[in-house]
């Protein structure tokens, strides 16, 4: 259970996964935010109106996936680092976009060890892009090229040397 392990359950994840029809069209955000806590920066970060306005600051975000462009502004704004970008449109791989706040800063082309929600190693992937959007207080948006079948599992990574 999420509140005793820190790891969301399959059913919780299924409920927030963007529909396959939307995923096949291009990058889209997945919000892994399940708990009613007072927090609203994602709503303010989204420039496309994809995060519905919070009537109550404790609401969990409700996302209009058709409006979401997968731009990643919410990914770097979220204090909980709970938002990820999924792109399943490339033919031979998938891309996952993650918030990253560790040093050293990864470089495009660098090989990384892919980790799941429990920090278990899944295999190798490659950094495809590193960006530092103007919002987000310096949190980086790191995009990783990963095997297609891992798109629902890769949520973190470790650089080959020098990171925890």
């Amino acid at each position: 259970m999420l509140k005793s392990t820190g790891v969301p359950e399959r059913e919780q994840l299924d409920a927030v996964t963007p529909p396959a029809s939307r995923r096949s069209k291009g990058p889209v955000a997945m919000f892994e935010c399940f708990e009613r806590i007072p927090c609203d920066p994602c709503y303010h970060a989204c420039k496309h109106g994809a995060v519905k306005e919070f009537l109550d600051i404790c609401d969990v975000p409700e996302v209009d996936f058709e409006r979401c462009t997968g731009c990643g502004l919410c990914v770097v704004a979220c204090p909980g680092l709970a938002i990820f970008i999924l792109d399943e449109t490339p033919s031979d791989h998938a891309v996952v976009g993650l918030p990253y706040e560790m040093l050293p800063v990864p470089e495009p082309g660098q090989e990384v060890t892919l980790l799941d929600r429990e920090g278990r190693e899944l295999g190798k992937g490659e950094v495809s892009q590193v960006s530092r959007p103007r919002v987000g207080s310096g949190t980086l948006l790191v995009k990783l090229k990963i095997p297609k079948e891992m798109v629902q599992d890769v949520r973190s990574f470790r650089l080959e040397r020098g990171t925890p």
């Binding site: 509140k3 005793s4 806590i37 920066p41 204090p79 929600r117 429990e118 278990r120 973190s156």
Partner: protein
């Protein structure tokens, strides 16, 4: 004698917000803090704050401190004394402040006490070994002075502070062996716990530290499982090779000054300990004394800013300088109610229900 209309003790988010609100109403304000830079807890918080965007959520704590301190600087009516400790407050409305080795008497017409909260300790064999730290000390070393507290850390307590400090340790390149938590559930927000799990940090609920071992300093920690009665279960011991044990087992409001003043206090476990009885305007049973932030009950940065602002306006109204007080009050209260509305606010709501009382003065 130094004279000011309002004296504020504590330059954390609550005290800074109180000073800003009062000065906005034209009240001459002196704010004193024993730290070297304004911000209180904020100067150690390198993570992005959760909470309300209107109260700077999504911004890192250190940057919120700078924002508030910048506003303070632009406010000609506020004087700020750093490295100054309020020692006591007397019948004749004199606050005694130690500054640069000298005692200064400050006469004020109203006082806001925003002294924050202090960490709790925990009893176990070896807890006096060097290497056993409070989470605040770990943060001060690491985030204020840039000094690593050790190489491998065991965190005790999975509330938000324990989870956040664990993450900050990882960022500093320190290994976190595990987070242990006595309760069956993670007390902090799930997102903070998930962040750690993704980085391979185990979180052991229903576990606590049994003993710390080492000669000159911590070298090892024994952790064991505890049952429903919070008693250790023999045979479940796990050993961790660590050189730091970081305790994040809760905070208690710092209320010595309020006690000394003679404000009526009440022990409210949901708010972290002894807190002053006050009315809805943060006014205590001593009519010119107001309270704000964690000193009024342990909550969060967003609520500290709001109770601070409320106390600042209320103090201004008490001094006859806030004609629009009812509207300003309602605005702060609405935002506070919203923050405390969810399940995470349940404890605070329960605590406030017994401590906010008309017994306290009316402004």
């Amino acid at each position: 004698m130094f004279r000011t209309e309002l004296a504020v003790v504590g330059a954390g988010p609550a005290g800074l917000s109180a000073a800003l609100a009062a000065s906005e109403c034209g009240v001459d304000t002196l704010i004193v803090d024993n730290g070297s830079t304004p911000g209180g807890q904020l100067v150690k918080q390198t993570h992005k704050f959760f909470g309300s965007k209107a109260e700077h959520a999504g911004t890192r704590g250190i940057h919120i401190a700078r924002l508030l301190a910048g506003e303070l600087q632009r406010s000609p009516q506020v004087e700020y004394w750093s490295e100054s400790t309020a020692l006591g407050y007397y019948e004749d409305q004199v606050l005694l402040v130690e500054r640069e080795g000298r005692a200064h008497a400050v006469h004020c017409d109203a006082l806001v006490v925003a002294t924050g909260a202090a960490e709790r300790h925990m009893v176990f064999p070896g807890n006096d070994l060097p290497g056993v730290y409070g989470a605040g000390a770990v943060q001060t070393l690491m985030n204020v002075h840039g000094v690593k507290p050790g190489e491998r850390v065991l965190i005790v307590g999975a509330g938000n502070i324990g989870l956040i400090v664990s993450y900050q340790l990882l960022q500093a390149g320190v290994r976190v062996a595990a987070v242990v938590e006595a309760s069956r559930y993670i007390g902090g927000y799930a997102v903070h716990a998930s962040k750690l799990r993704r980085l391979s940090v185990p979180i052991l609920t229903s576990h606590t530290v049994k003993e710390a071992h080492g000669h000159e300093q911590v070298e090892r920690a024994t952790v064991w499982q505890i049952d429903e009665t919070f008693t250790g279960v023999p045979g479940t011991e796990i050993e961790f090779e660590v050189d730091v044990i970081c305790l994040a087992v809760g905070l208690s409001p710092v209320t010595d000054l309020l006690c000394q003043i003679g404000c009526k206090m009440k022990y409210v476990p949901e708010l972290g300990g002894y807190v002053p009885i006050r009315n809805e305007n943060m006014q205590t049973t001593r009519s010119e004394v107001f309270v704000a932030g964690d000193a009024s009950g342990v909550e969060e940065g967003s609520s500290a800013m709001l109770t601070g602002r409320l106390a600042g306006y209320a103090a201004a109204a008490y001094l006859g300088k806030c004609p629009d007080f009812q509207n300003k009050r309602a605005e702060c209260q609405r935002a506070l109610d919203a923050l405390r509305a969810g399940p995470s606010g349940q404890k605070v709501r329960a605590g406030l229900s017994v401590v906010v009382s008309m017994e306290a003065g009316t402004c």
